[in-house]
């Protein structure tokens, strides 16, 4: 539990640093952004592992809840055709941030007022890389409680399945428990 708490903290700090580096003088530093993204990736992997070991000790219903919270990204709803590699998803962040910086000149102050998170939700697939920790307020309007886990769980499935698609297996619906074990 300690490990996953630390991992979560590291991810949050990395995100904070990535966002603040956008307004830094001299522009986005590629090296720094890359290192931060790598740290986030390690932290995310360890966090998922820790969550997975926890879940295997907890009844099914609660599994749904916690995995749902972990991956809050039902992105744009359309599954990507080329299931990006985990590495690629992760490194999506610096290039996304750069694109955003280019696309919105003089963005500095305006963006700090309203963090670009909602914009990124709709424009790009974030995957598991820039996961929002569960304790941050959810910016998406939630549907009724019963349906919510369902929707999120199915996109989690898509995420996990795309994750393994690099091996060439075609995405077939897998039972949730098996998916978690595989990752």
């Amino acid at each position: 539990m300690e490990v996953s708490a630390e991992a979560k903290r590291i991810m949050v700090v990395a995100l904070g640093k990535l966002y603040s580096s956008r307004t830094q003088r001299g522009g986005l530093r590629l090296h720094r952004s890359l290192l931060l993204t790598m740290v986030m990736k390690s932290a995310r992997d360890i966090y998922h592992e820790a969550q997975a070991t926890e879940e295997s000790l907890v009844p099914t219903f609660e599994q749904h809840q916690s995995t749902a919270e972990v991956t809050t990204q039902p992105t744009s709803g359309h599954p990507e055709l080329q299931g990006p590699l985990p590495g690629e998803e992760v490194v999506g962040s610096p290039s996304e941030l750069r694109h955003d910086a280019h696309a919105r000149p003089g963005a500095g102050d305006k963006e700090n007022v309203c963090p670009a998170v909602p914009a990124q939700h709709s424009r790009k697939r974030r995957g598991k890389a820039a996961v929002e920790p569960d304790f941050l307020p959810c910016k998406k309007a939630k549907l009724e409680q019963e349906n919510c886990p369902q929707l999120i769980v199915s996109s989690v499935l898509m995420d996990y399945v795309n994750c393994s698609s690099e091996l060439g297996t075609t995405p077939t619906p897998l039972p949730l428990q098996r998916v978690i074990a595989a990752c």
């Binding site: 630390e6 991992a7 590291i10 700090v13 640093k17 003088r25 001299g26 522009g27 530093r29 590629l30 090296h31 720094r32 890359l34 290192l35 790598m38 740290v39 390690s42 932290a43 360890i46 990006p84 590699l85 590495g87 690629e88 998803e89 490194v91 999506g92 610096p94 290039s95 910086a101 280019h102 000149p105 003089g106 963005a107």
Partner: protein, 453 residues
């Protein structure tokens, strides 16, 4: 901001501690003879120091070294100004990332200085004479009334006060999309390389509108990016060889004779990762922040966050020597990550005979390692404890065992006082250490000249 010892009513300590961001030194470099020392700062200025030579009459005896060894300011100039990339809406910092001197060919000195995007070649020349006795102009330069000129005179050169002129001779711009981290002059004296995060370009010193791209590690899809170039340097003797380091801790030696584009390395130097020491921050701390060829050209010195390593060009399986710079920080990586210190880029240098290596640390400490014995010493670059001509004491960080007087605990280290930039005189035991906005020059009076060891 002098040493305000006595000030009964006003407390000046805050003034003493206040450092203008622009004054922070960002690079230090001796020229090939060691007579000149250049520093660059965050404000885009370059300050050149010159070594004093003893005046005539003081040492007429045969065999005495004439240099008193003091370095005084020789010239100051504004190398780079803040700039703006209108296309990307990005500010370009004027901070001088690197300075490299060219070999001296005539009376003038040349140096290259670079910020994130633009490299400039500067000519530093002296003028200590001026012509006097013009026919058409008077002493103030005003045109004479022609009717008053009755005879012809030949202007003569009269000595004047020494003037040092610095002029930009070349500006190498638009060569880099990413931030330039290194420049290195080739031993051929005609070309130099500049490296940014993803590309290395080779320039001719005389041609500013073109450069050859010799390394390009930018992936077709930026999402596949896994490593960046962190430093690059030409071999000191072989004009076709250069090395570059990566954020993954690898070194690549490239031979330009093999192909025009040196994406494929000739040799890859990599140390297998120790699985036992894996942590969240393993990738960050394995990133190489500096790479330097030894003077002999046989070895490479690299610096990553916690260690300095010596590699033999003939062996690519791993370093031949590893020196722990501040291993006591390994358990503090998480807080160093939070306060950004883990991203600090330390430089490393060789002494002239390649027998000692030196690198910086925190708390104004810097470390020297004797390669023969493997022993390291910790020294401090701090005004309070080093009056001019005082002997540098060795310091110690307390990591357990018997605590000695003067030991500093790990938790009392000041992480804002970092020694990132330094240089070693090419021939003598003189070192220049940049500590934030101060430059320290230390000389070994006991063994001023390096004996063959």
């Amino acid at each position: 901001m002098g040493e305000d010892a006595e000030s009964p009513k006003i407390n000046h300590t805050f003034l003493r501690d206040y450092v203008t961001e622009a004054d922070v030194i960002s690079t230090v470099e001796f020229n090939q003879t060691g007579d000149l020392l250049a520093t660059g700062d965050k404000g885009g200025r370059v300050v050149i120091f010159q070594r004093e030579t003893e005046s005539k009459g003081e040492s007429e005896e045969v065999g005495e070294t004439s240099d008193s060894g003091e370095y005084n300011v020789y010239s100051t100039f504004q190398s780079h100004e803040p700039d703006f990339d209108y296309l990307k809406s990005l500010e370009i910092e004027e901070k001088i990332n690197k300075i490299r001197w060219l070999s001296q060919q005539n009376a003038a000195h040349f140096l290259l200085s670079t910020n994130d995007k633009t490299i400039k070649l500067w000519k530093v020349s002296e003028r200590d004479k001026r012509p006097e006795g013009y026919n058409l102009k008077d002493e103030e330069g005003r045109l004479k009334d022609i009717s008053t000129i009755t005879s012809l005179q030949v202007p003569v050169l009269k000595p004047t006060d020494l003037m040092v002129e610095v002029r930009p001779r070349r500006v190498f711009s638009n060569g880099h999309t990413y931030h330039v981290n290194s420049i290195s002059v080739n031993s051929d004296g005609e070309t130099y390389l500049s490296a940014d995060d993803l590309r290395i370009n080779m320039w001719h010193l005389g041609i500013t509108d073109r450069s050859f791209n010799i390394v390009d590690i930018k992936p077709a899809n930026m999402e596949e990016l896994t490593e960046v170039i962190t430093a690059a340097e030409f071999h000191p003797h072989h004009c076709h060889l250069f090395v570059y380091s990566s954020s993954k801790g690898t070194l690549r030696l490239c031979d330009m004779r093999a192909s025009a584009l040196c994406d494929k390395h000739t040799k890859l130097f990599e140390e297998p990762e120790d699985p036992g020491s894996r942590s969240f921050f393993s990738e960050i701390i394995s990133s190489v922040s500096d790479v330097k060829f030894s003077h002999s050209g046989r070895y490479l010195l690299t610096r990553d966050y916690l260690t300095a390593k010596v590699w033999d060009l003939n062996m690519d399986k791993g370093p031949v020597e590893t020196y722990q710079v501040h291993e006591y920080l390994r358990s503090k990586l998480c807080s160093l990550y939070e306060n950004d210190c883990i991203f600090d880029k330390f430089e490393c240098v060789w002494n002239s005979s390649d027998s000692v290596i030196m690198t910086g640390a925190y708390n104004s400490f810097f470390r020297m390692f004797d390669r023969e014995t493997g022993r390291g010493v910790t020294l401090e670059a701090w005004r309070e404890s080093s009056k001019p001509r005082a002997v540098l004491r060795t310091r110690r960080v307390y990591t357990g065992g018997k605590r000695r007087r003067g030991d500093v605990g790990v938790d009392s280290l000041d992480f804002t006082k970092k020694i990132l930039h330094m240089a070693w005189h090419p021939a003598e035991n003189i070192i220049a250490i940049a500590a934030t906005n101060n430059l320290y020059i230390f000389q070994d009076r006991v063994n001023p000249d390096v004996q063959g060891q």
